[in-house]
C-alpha cells in the first residue's frame, strides 16, 4: 500500500504543475501585472513610475514564462511563473500583495475554518445518516413520504436564506446567540453553534435523500433478508448490516471532502465574520491578489488529491475485498 501511496503522490506533481500553469494563464490573460499594480495603487496619483516600482517590489517586472534576455536555464527560471510557482511545491507561498506572509495566513486561518467545517461535517453526517435510516425504517409509510417531502423542501431553499433567517430569528429576534464573530477558548463555542446549526440544517435535504437511496438499494439485497430470517430486529439489521454495507458510497462522498474542510466556506465565513480560508480566498479574488489566489488554488488541488488517496485507502479499510496495488 505504501508503494501505491507514493506512486499516487508522485502522480500529483505533474497534475499540480498543470493546475498551476492553468491558473497562471487564466489569471494573466485577464489581468496583466500593470493592471494589478494599478488596482493596488488605487485611483489617485498613479504614475508610470509608481507602477514600475510596484512591479519591481512584487517581482512582476520579469517576463511571464520565457526570459529571452537571459541565458541557459535562467530563460525559464528568471520568469514570473518560476519565481512565484516553484517554491509552492515546498509550501513556500511567499507574500500577498498586501505584504502579509501567505503561509502564516493559511496556518492562522485553518483553525477558524476547521472550527466550523469539521462539526458541520461530523454532525451533518450523523444527522443525515440517522435521518436516512429512519426514513428507510419507515419506508412506504407516511413518515417516509413526509420525510422525503421535507428533504425536497430543505434542498430547494438557498443556503443564503438559511443564514439570513437563522441570524434573524436566533440572534436578532430571540437574542439566543451572537449574530457573528469569533472568540477563543470556551467562549468560542457560543459563536460556533449558530453557523454549525445552520450548516447542518442546510445539508440535511440533499444528504439524507442521497443516503436514503443508498440504504434502500442495500435493504433489498439477499443478506438483509437472511439477517431478518435469523430473527434480528429491524434496528440491528439497519445499523449492523445495511449501514456497514452502505459505507462505500458514503465514504466516496465523505472522505474526499475531508481534507477540503480546511479550505472553509466562502459564504458562511463571510456572514459570520469567521476569519477562515474561505473568506481569505474570496477577499483575494475581489482584490485580484494573484499570489493568494494561486496559493489557494494550489492548496485546494493538493488537498483534493490527498482526499482521493484517502478515499482509496478507506475503500480497502471498509471492504477487505478491495486491494490497492
Amino acid at each position: 500500500m505504501l508503494a501505491y501511496i507514493l506512486r499516487r503522490l508522485l502522480y500529483a506533481i505533474p497534475i499540480l504543475i498543470g493546475v498551476n500553469l492553468l491558473t497562471f494563464a487564466l489569471f494573466f490573460v485577464v489581468n496583466t501585472p500593470d493592471d494589478m499594480a494599478r488596482l493596488q495603487l488605487g485611483a489617485k496619483h498613479v504614475t508610470p513610475d509608481a507602477i514600475a516600482r510596484w512591479k519591481v517590489e512584487h517581482g512582476y517586472d520579469k517576463p511571464l514564462l520565457l526570459n529571452a534576455r537571459a541565458s541557459g536555464s535562467a530563460q525559464l527560471t528568471d520568469t514570473i511563473f518560476f519565481k512565484h510557482s516553484a517554491a509552492m511545491f515546498v509550501f513556500e507561498f511567499g507574500k500577498g500583495d498586501d505584504g502579509r506572509n501567505i503561509g502564516n495566513e493559511i496556518r492562522t486561518r485553518m483553525g477558524p475554518s476547521l472550527a466550523i467545517a469539521l462539526p458541520v461535517f461530523v454532525i451533518g453526517l450523523l444527522v443525515n445518516i440517522t435521518f436516512a435510516l429512519l426514513m428507510v425504517f419507515f419506508r412506504s409509510t407516511y413518515l417516509d413520504l413526509w420525510g422525503v417531502v421535507l428533504c425536497v423542501v430543505l434542498m430547494s431553499i438557498s443556503g443564503l436564506f438559511y443564514i439570513i433567517a437563522g441570524q434573524y430569528f436566533i440572534s436578532k429576534l430571540w437574542n439566543l446567540l451572537p449574530i457573528s464573530g469569533v472568540a477563543g477558548g470556551i467562549d468560542g463555542l457560543r459563536f460556533i453553534v449558530l453557523p454549525v446549526l445552520i450548516g447542518v440544517v442546510a445539508g440535511i435535504g440533499s444528504g439524507a435523500r442521497w443516503y436514503r437511496t443508498i440504504f434502500l438499494e442495500e435493504i433489498g439485497k439477499d443478506y438483509v433478508r437472511t439477517a431478518r430470517a435469523k430473527g434480528l430486529s429491524e434496528v440491528r439489521v439497519l445499523f449492523r448490516h445495511v449501514l456497514k454495507n452502505g459505507m462505500i458510497p458514503i465514504l466516496t462522498g465523505a472522505v474526499v471532502v475531508l481534507p477540503l474542510l480546511f479550505m472553509g466556506s466562502l459564504i458562511t465565513e463571510s456572514f459570520f465574520g469567521i476569519p477562515g480560508l474561505g473568506s481569505y480566498t474570496i477577499d483575494a479574488i475581489q482584490a485580484q491578489d494573484f499570489a493568494v489566489v494561486r496559493a489557494m488554488v494550489f492548496l485546494g488541488s493538493f488537498l483534493y488529491i490527498v482526499g482521493l488517496i484517502l478515499t482509496d485507502i478507506s475503500y480497502s479499510w471498509v471492504d477487505p475485498r478491495v486491494r490497492l496495488q
Partner: protein, 720 residues
C-alpha cells in the same frame, strides 16, 4: 457505532450547554465575551481589512481610520470649525512659507508665483512628545538596544509585538519627520504620493533614483536612509526641521496634516528589518509605532483590531471654539477637557451589512452607517424633504447625523471624441442638452434615497469657492424660479440639441440617429436598473445610449487610452482647497499624453491660464473672482455632467457623544466620549433572551418523534 454516536451527541450537547452557560453572565448574544461591564471602550467595525498601516503607504480611508489615531503629523484639522481649518498637532504653530528667489534671497509674501524659486517651510515641533511603548526602543542597562541584533532563532517564538518582554520609548525629534519624508522615496515602499511629492520637494526625485540604484546593487540589504541626504528636508535643530518646495505650492501645507508626513523612528525600521520578522507579519506595515493618543494593541485584521490609550501620550484638550450650532448640539460640553476620552476602541471585522446592522440595533456597535437595505427602517423624509429618524429609531434614542461629502460624482465626456468632444459652440450645446436631460435630482431620489445634492459645478460644499443657493446655480442646466433652483425644461434641452445639429435626436445632415456610448464599471443585476435609468434619460431627447459595462482594469485602460466617449467617475478631496478639484480639468493634466488626472481630456487655454493663477493664491475675494470665472467656463463648456455631491448619513446611539462629521480629519477618535453605564443598561434591556422558541422546538420534536417511536415499537412487536 450507536454508542459512539451517543457519546458524540452527548459531547456536542455538553459543549452547547457549556457555551450557553458561559454566556449567562451577560446577554446571551453578546459578541464581546469577557468584556468588563461599564468598560470605557468604543465598539466599531471595519468591512475590509486594511492593506497598509505604514504611513508612507496607507492612503485608503479604511487604513487612515487606524493610522490617523496612531501617527501624528505636525498639523491637524480643527474638529469643529468650518470651513476646515488647520491647527498645530505636534508642531508649535502652523508654519508659514518663506519665499526665495533663484539666488536664495527672501521675497515678500505677495510676490507673484512666477518669481518664486523655492518655498521654505520650517516646522518646529513641541518638545517632550514621547512614542508609544515598543520593544524597538528597549535598551539594556548598558544603554544598548535589546532587540536590534536578534537572530532568527530568537524571533522564532514571537508572533506579536507584545511577546517581547521589554518595551521602551523615546522623545520625538525633528529627525524622525525628515526620516519619514525620505521613506516616501524608498522604492521598497512604493509610496502612492512619491510621484506627486517628487515634483514638489527639492531633491526627492534624485533621492528616489539613488535609493533605487542602491537597492538594485544590494537587493538583500536593508537601505539605511540616514546615509542618504535629501536636500529638500533637513534637520535644523533637535525640534526643528525644514522642507524646501520647488516654486510656490500653497496646498503643500495640507499634506502636513496627513499621516504621510507623520514621524517614523528609525529604530522601528531597524527592529522590523531583522530576519524572521516579516515571516510573522511583524513589519512596520502591520505594527505601527507612533506618538498619537492610541496605539495598536491587538492587530488581527482577520478578526479585530484594538486601539488602546497610549500611556505616553503628550496630552491635548478638547477644542473650546465652535459655532452656535455646535454649542446647541452639545459639542462644546467637553471644552477644555483632557483627551482622549475612551480608553480603547475595538474594531471588529464585519463584512456583511445585515449582521452589522443587527449588532448596531442590539447596542453592540456604538455607531453605524446606513446601507440601502436598512435605509427605510432608519430614515424617512418629511414633507419638506428633510431626513428624520423613524419612530423605531427614536424610541431607541438613536441619533442621525448627516453631512455633504467633499466629493463629486460626475459623467465625463471625452473631449477628444469627435461626437461629444471639442470646444466649438455646437459641441457645447450638445453637452449642455445632455446635462439637462440627465435628471440627477430624480437619480438622487430613486437610487440614493435622497443622499446627495445636485452638483452645480466641480467644487463641493465646504470648500472655498463654493457658492450656496441660487447665487451658485449652474445657469446652463438650472434656473432660478422664484428663489428655487429648478432644472431647465426638456424643451430647452431639445432646442439646444437642435442647435447642436441633432434636431429630434437625429443628425441634421445625414438623418442618422444620434447614438452615444457610455462606459461604466457597474454591471450585473444590481446595476441594471440604474443603467436603464441612464438610457431613459436620453430617450427623452430621442438619443440612443449604448451602455458598455466592463471591469475595473478594462475601464481604466479605456480612459487611459481615450477610448471612452462618456463615462462615470468621481473624486474625493485630498484637502479642502478648490485646486484639488479644478486640477481635474486642467489641460496639462490630461490623461492622454500626460497620464494625469484629467480623465475628460479637457483643455481650455483660458481655463488653464486662470487655474495657474488661482492655484497659488491665498483665499480671498480676488481668488473667489477667479474661481467664479473658471466656474462659468466649465459650466458653459460642460466637459462633465455635474451629477451630485454625495451626502453621508450616519447613526449613533444616545450614549455616544462628540460626533461631528469631519471629512478632512482622520484623527477624531480622541474626541469621542461614551457613557458606558447607559450602554450597559440599554444592552440588557434590548437583549433579553427569548426562550419560548426553544420550548416550542422541543415540543414540536416530541410531536413529530412520538408517533414515529410508537410506530417503531408496533413494528418491532410485529416482527417479534
Amino acid at each position: 457505532m450507536t454508542r459512539i454516536g451517543a457519546t458524540l451527541l452527548k459531547t456536542v450537547l455538553l459543549g452547547i450547554g457549556l457555551s450557553l452557560l458561559a454566556g449567562c453572565s451577560d446577554n446571551w448574544n453578546n459578541p464581546y465575551p469577557g468584556s468588563a461591564t461599564q468598560a470605557n471602550v468604543l465598539y466599531s467595525a471595519f468591512s475590509e481589512r486594511p492593506k497598509h498601516l505604514d504611513p508612507a503607504r496607507s492612503y485608503a480611508s479604511n487604513e487612515v481610520e487606524f493610522t490617523g489615531q496612531i501617527y501624528e503629523p505636525p498639523l491637524q484639522y480643527h474638529f469643529l470649525k468650518r470651513p476646515y481649518t488647520l491647527i498645530p498637532l505636534t508642531a508649535e504653530g502652523v508654519p508659514q512659507p518663506r519665499y526665495l528667489d533663484a539666488t536664495g534671497n527672501v521675497l515678500p509674501d505677495n510676490t507673484p508665483a512666477a518669481r518664486i524659486a523655492e518655498s521654505v517651510y520650517e516646522v518646529r515641533i513641541k518638545p517632550g512628545v514621547q512614542y508609544q511603548p515598543h520593544p524597538a526602543f528597549a535598551r539594556d542597562a548598558a544603554g544598548r538596544y535589546r532587540y536590534h541584533a536578534m537572530k532568527a532563532t530568537e524571533v522564532a517564538g514571537k508572533t506579536q509585538v507584545s511577546d517581547f518582554e521589554y518595551a521602551g520609548t523615546r522623545e520625538l525629534v525633528a529627525a524622525d519627520y525628515v526620516y519619514q519624508i525620505k521613506r516616501l522615496a524608498n522604492p521598497k515602499l512604493s509610496s502612492p504620493i512619491f510621484g506627486l511629492m517628487a515634483e514638489h520637494i527639492v531633491g526627492l526625485k534624485a533621492l528616489g533614483e539613488s535609493l533605487e540604484q542602491a537597492a538594485r546593487a544590494q537587493p538583500d540589504v536593508e537601505l539605511s536612509l540616514n546615509d542618504f541626504p535629501l536636500a529638500g528636508a533637513e534637520v535644523v535643530d533637535r525640534y526643528t526641521y525644514r522642507i524646501r518646495i520647488k516654486g510656490k505650492y500653497p496646498q503643500f501645507i495640507y499634506w502636513l496634516a496627513m499621516p504621510f508626513f507623520a514621524p517614523v523612528p528609525w529604530e522601528a525600521e531597524r527592529f522590523y528589518a531583522q530576519p524572521g520578522m516579516a515571516e510573522k507579519n511583524l513589519t512596520l506595515d502591520w505594527q505601527p509605532v507612533g506618538t498619537g493618543p492610541y496605539y495598536l494593541a491587538e492587530n488581527d485584521p482577520n478578526r479585530r483590531m484594538v486601539l488602546k490609550k497610549n500611556p505616553h501620550f503628550h496630552g491635548e484638550t478638547y477644542p473650546v471654539e465652535g459655532d452656535a450650532a455646535d454649542q446647541q448640539a452639545g459639542l462644546l460640553a467637553d471644552a477644555g477637557k483632557s483627551l482622549p476620552f475612551v480608553d480603547a476602541a475595538v474594531f471588529s471585522l464585519e463584512k456583511e451589512t445585515i449582521p452589522y446592522w443587527s449588532k448596531f440595533l442590539q447596542g453592540y456597535y456604538d455607531s453605524s452607517g446606513i446601507s440601502s437595505d436598512s435605509f427605510d427602517q432608519a430614515v424617512q423624509f418629511s414633507a419638506g424633504g428633510d431626513p428624520k429618524l423613524t419612530d423605531s429609531m427614536r424610541k431607541r434614542d438613536i441619533r442621525l447625523f448627516t453631512t455633504v461629502e467633499t466629493s463629486i460624482s460626475y459623467v465625463g465626456f471625452n473631449m477628444l471624441d469627435p461626437v461629444v468632444g471639442g470646444l466649438g459652440k455646437d459641441r457645447q450645446k450638445l453637452r449642455q442638452a445632455l446635462s439637462i436631460a440627465f435628471d440627477y435630482d430624480e437619480f438622487i431620489s430613486i437610487f440614493r434615497n435622497g443622499r446627495g445634492i445636485p452638483a452645480q459645478g466641480p467644487i463641493p460644499p465646504g470648500l472655498f469657492g463654493y457658492v450656496d443657493g441660487v447665487a451658485g446655480l449652474n445657469p446652463y442646466v438650472y434656473e432660478n424660479k422664484g428663489g428655487e433652483i429648478q432644472r431647465r425644461s426638456l424643451s430647452t434641452a431639445r432646442k439646444l440639441l437642435a442647435e447642436a445639429g441633432y434636431p429630434n435626436g437625429r443628425d441634421a445632415k445625414t438623418g442618422a440617429p444620434l447614438v452615444l456610448y457610455f462606459d461604466t464599471m457597474a454591471s450585473g443585476p444590481d446595476a441594471k436598473s440604474r443603467l436603464d435609468w441612464m438610457k431613459k434619460q436620453l430617450d427623452k431627447l430621442n438619443v440612443q445610449l449604448v451602455v458598455r459595462g466592463t471591469d475595473y482594469n478594462r475601464f481604466q485602460d479605456k480612459i487611459r487610452k481615450g477610448n471612452a466617449q462618456m463615462f462615470e467617475w468621481g473624486w474625493n478631496a485630498d484637502y479642502p482647497d478648490p485646486e484639488n478639484f479644478f486640477f481635474l480639468l486642467y489641460g496639462p493634466h490630461k490623461k492622454i499624453a500626460t497620464g494625469g488626472e484629467n480623465a475628460a481630456n479637457y483643455d481650455n487655454p483660458e481655463f488653464n491660464r486662470l487655474f495657474e493663477r488661482m492655484k497659488d493664491m491665498d483665499n480671498g475675494p480676488e481668488r473667489q473672482q477667479l474661481i467664479d470665472a473658471m466656474l462659468e467656463i466649465v459650466r458653459r463648456d460642460a466637459p462633465w455632467i455635474y451629477a451630485y455631491y454625495p451626502k453621508s448619513f450616519g447613526l449613533r446611539h444616545g450614549w455616544v457623544h462628540n460626533v461631528k462629521p469631519n471629512l478632512m480629519a482622520n484623527n477624531t477618535l480622541k474626541y469621542r466620549r461614551i457613557d458606558p453605564a447607559l450602554r450597559d443598561t440599554r444592552r440588557a434591556e434590548w437583549n433579553h433572551p427569548v426562550l419560548w422558541p426553544i420550548v416550542l422546538l422541543v415540543g414540536a420534536l416530541v410531536i413529530v418523534i412520538a408517533p414515529a417511536v410508537i410506530a417503531w415499537r408496533r413494528r418491532e412487536r410485529k416482527t417479534a
